[in-house]
């Protein structure tokens, strides 16, 4: 047995959260995410899965318990975290190119490096041709690509995604799922991904955390031990069906309690 010396990317110990005097949103969450994992959080509405992301990012603080990101407090670890929201959160007065550069601009990256990195990421997400367009001219899927490119410009080690493809049609969603995995194969970040879609969770994740509601808590976890890289053809394999029904069953149990 080897001695475990690697610091986990994310560690939540006994984390509870309630707002003011309201009921608990999250109750006693223990969750450790190792470096390189792709963890999906799935559960009925009101289970606090988005709150988990807010806590990991330090946008909100736990009522009790501790959260460590790469051994640091969330706020101190912010430079290594990127957050992708459900809406693309693009600045409508900026072109695609300048939207992608926003994160680096705020963090004070020098102009030359910013330009180079922006071009590199526009290329990576396939938006080079529309770099001069404004967000209102883009489809939902393209807006989300801009958002992903912006998140990756600051070389995050941890990517937090809050239902990023929830508002897209199934075709765009499937394509972006595949692209996300392609990019991940090159960049090796750790991901925490909130979703409503069982199929999406199964396709993307190395581990799926199923949460129950009222109060939000971990119901069960399911590992997805599939070889990388994953391709679109996985979706039609029997194993995929099997895992999807496993997760669906666990979700039903979480809901009925």
């Amino acid at each position: 047995m080897t001695l475990e010396v690697t610091v986990p990317e994310v560690q939540l110990s006994g984390v509870s959260k309630h707002y003011r005097d309201g009921p608990a949103v999250l109750h006693n969450i223990d969750l450790t995410i190792a470096k390189g994992e792709f963890v999906s959080l799935i559960g009925p509405s009101g289970c606090g899965k988005s709150t988990v992301l807010k806590l990991i990012s330090g946008l909100t603080s736990p009522s009790s318990g501790t959260i460590l990101v790469d051994g640091m407090t969330p706020k101190n670890a912010r430079e290594t975290i990127s957050y992708i929201f459900q809406d693309a959160t693009l600045l409508p007065w900026r072109t695609v190119r300048r939207n992608v550069a926003l994160g680096m601009e705020l963090e004070g990256t020098s102009g030359d490096r910013r330009e180079a990195k922006t071009s590199e990421l526009l290329e990576l997400v396939g938006l080079r041709e529309v770099s001069g367009a404004f967000p209102r001219e883009l489809s939902g899927g393209m807006k989300m690509r801009v958002s992903i490119a912006r998140a990756l410009t600051t070389n995050p080690r941890l990517l937090l995604m809050d239902e990023p493809f929830g508002a897209l049609d199934e075709m765009s969603r499937d394509r972006l799922n595949e692209e996300l995995l392609r990019i991940r194969a090159e960049q090796k970040w750790t991901a925490v991904f909130v979703t409503h879609s069982v199929a999406e969770a199964v396709f993307l994740s190395t581990r799926i955390v199923i949460l129950a509601a009222k109060p939000g808590r971990v119901q069960t976890m399911i590992s997805v031990d599939w070889p990388q890289p994953r391709t679109a053809s996985l979706r039609s394999m029997p194993l995929f069906e099997e895992l999807t029904s496993d997760v669906s069953r666990a979700l039903r149990e979480a809901r009925s309690e």
Partner: protein, 265 residues
């Protein structure tokens, strides 16, 4: 709108104008209205032609006062809105006073301003400024504080400073609302300047802006010139409206949904 449609719309507007003028002339003939009560369209046109230089001067003076008041409102309004945007507490404390600006009747404070500042352009500009300030403050503040929470979170995740939040997020986000405020303020500034001139008209007898000249023409029973002045006041109001529309279009048309083209719909 293509060129053909524009031409048709223009022709339609012109025929409405022609119909109104015809109706005006008809009323004169049927009711035999004396010229000092209602001059004929022809007499008004002659008055415009004969007194074009003094009309132009009156137009320029009032235009300058209204523009001065409007620009001051934009500068002060944005400044005050930036302070208001800092906290809900500040807004609650100071917002009632902007309502005061809006509700105090200008005719009531005009004599005071006249007493303090003296007659002439300066006090008229001040009056135009005071009554056009509130809509700029209210709309800009609304724009500054109505930024989506996730946008703020995005900035926080990149360790944005409060200055970056203000100048790269809140202020650009507020520009469409600012223009709504400016559009309202521009109309009020023109009315304010004309009303102001009724009180604080001119420092020289016989020479002043549209409001002052209207007062003067009515006292002299020069009804045809009075009509010409009213016409000029309307043109001034329209000019401001189109000027603001143009700037709004210029700054917003590339990214904002509601930016309208400078055309009457």
């Amino acid at each position: 709108m293509n060129i053909r449609q524009t031409l048709i719309a223009g022709a339609n507007s012109l025929s409405v104008f022609a119909a109104l003028v015809a109706l005006w002339q008809l009323v004169l003939w049927i009711f035999r209205v004396p010229a000092y009560m209602l001059p004929s369209p022809w007499a008004v046109a002659r008055a415009v032609d004969a007194r074009l230089p003094s009309l132009a001067i009156a137009f320029a003076i009032t235009g300058e006062e209204a523009l001065g008041g409007l620009l001051a409102s934009i500068a002060a309004g944005v400044g005050i809105a930036l302070i208001f945007a800092q906290s809900r507490w500040i807004r609650r404390m100071l917002y009632p006073y902007t309502l005061l600006l809006q509700t105090v009747p200008i005719v009531a404070i005009a004599p005071l301003i006249l007493m303090w500042v003296g007659s002439g352009t300066a006090s008229v500009t001040l009056i135009a400024f005071i009554i056009s300030l509130a809509p700029v403050i209210a709309n800009t503040t609304q724009g500054l504080v109505s930024v989506e929470e996730n946008m703020v979170h995005l900035f926080l995740m990149h360790n944005a400073s409060s200055m970056q939040l203000l100048f790269k997020l809140r202020l650009p986000h507020a520009v469409p609302s600012l223009f709504v405020g400016i559009r309202i303020a521009s109309g009020i500034a023109v009315i304010g300047a004309i009303t102001g001139e009724l009180y604080a008209g001119s420092s020289r007898v016989g020479e002043g802006g549209l409001g002052y000249s209207i007062l003067y023409a009515s006292s002299q029973l020069q009804t045809d010139y009075l009509f010409a002045l009213v016409l000029a006041a309307t043109v001034l109001g329209f000019s401001f409206f189109f000027l603001v529309m143009f700037f709004e279009w210029y700054f917003l048309h590339r990214w904002h949904e509601s930016a309208r083209k400078p055309e009457v719909e």
